[in-house]
Symmetry: C2
Subunit: 194 residues, 2 copies
DNA sequence: GTCTATACAGGGATAGAC
DNA sequence: GTCTATCCCTGTATAGAC
């Protein structure tokens, strides 16, 4: 039992340290030694748990994905109206505490671009995210066209978050919410739907 | 004269090789040795021209920026109508040949995040791009609100290009153009402008 | 201006002890 | 399960020759 606790704690510490250092120094720039040291462990423990630096990276990303989904779902439930729900999506990527995760996502993206296996994992993860967004209209009417536009919604969130980061004043909340609103609400009202 | 040609060619070869390898293997993953070798030169020549790996990176990005602006401007001139002009913007980031530059931009972004000097250069570059976009309405009426929305336009282009890359079928041209159209044409027609 | 050779540092991963 | 010690490779940058 004590053993189990110690093992679990080591794993958790390593994951937290890796998330920090990958985001801060990049995947290549964060040494396994530095990660282990920050977790108050050594490389031996790290390799015992994850086997390689890349598997550690995957574990970090998987854990993050679960946490992020939970947080966003809770925020959506808490919101009172359509605009607030869109605003909470925007806040999820634009708030200061998200910078770290945006940095990590950037790293993962670069990494995946030259690693087919990692790219496949990344692709699957995004498809799952899109599918999650496609479920939103079942609960909230304002997300009517979230299904078909899901990839664009994610892309817009990511891209605007990037601009927000180079220059926080450049993207106003109102601008972001308005752009999202256009994507989630049915755009075909003026179009060719019979 | 011969000397001058040789020097200029060396510089050009090094820049091209660096652009290739930075995009392909990342900034950290591309060694100065590999870059020099691909340019049919040696590290000596590289350091003679650029002094450091980072200065080489800046030179690569600066050259790219000039080229890209020229190409996009030409495409805009060639287009016949509003929709084609928006489509040409989308094509500029979504066409297969742009993948390389998107990869490089990703690398630069990650690099800048942990290098204040590089971040400042990146920021300036984006502000300049936004200013360039803000000039568009002077020539084309459909870009009426491009000024205020310039950062969002760039962000949306970047973000959708990313999604397009994980899964090319996920973002249709029509979807991209419609989203851009919403951003460039005045959004206040239905709003509170008296 | 460009090459060759080298100084100097750091990283990922493994072996063997406890 | 975790630590210490070590192997082996690769990288940036510089010095000195031509």
């Amino acid at each position: 039992m004590r053993q189990h606790d110690r093992k679990a704690e080591t794993r958790a510490r390593l994951l937290a340290a890796a998330a920090d250092l990958f985001a801060e120094h990049g995947i290549a720039g964060a040494s396994v030694d530095a990660i282990a040291t920050r977790a108050d462990r050594t490389v031996g423990a790290l390799y015992g748990h994850f086997g390689s630096k890349e598997e550690l990276l995957f574990a970090v990303v998987d854990e993050w994905l679960g946490d992020a989904a939970t947080v966003v779902a809770a925020e959506l439930e808490l919101a009172d109206d359509a605009e607030q729900r869109l605003a909470s999506l925007w806040r999820a990527v634009s708030q200061p505490s998200s910078e770290r995760w945006l940095a990590l996502e950037h790293e993962v993206w670069s990494h995946a671009r030259r690693n087919p296996q990692a790219m496949e994992r990344l692709r699957r993860r995004y498809v799952e995210t899109w599918e999650g967004i496609a479920m939103l209209p079942l609960q909230w009417p304002e997300f009517a066209s979230a299904g078909t536009n899901a990839p664009a919604i994610v892309g817009v969130l990511f891209g605007m978050a990037m601009m927000h980061q180079v220059s926080p004043g450049s993207i106003t909340d109102e601008m972001a919410v308005r752009t999202l609103h256009h994507l989630v609400s049915s755009p075909d009202t003026e179009g060719a739907t019979p």
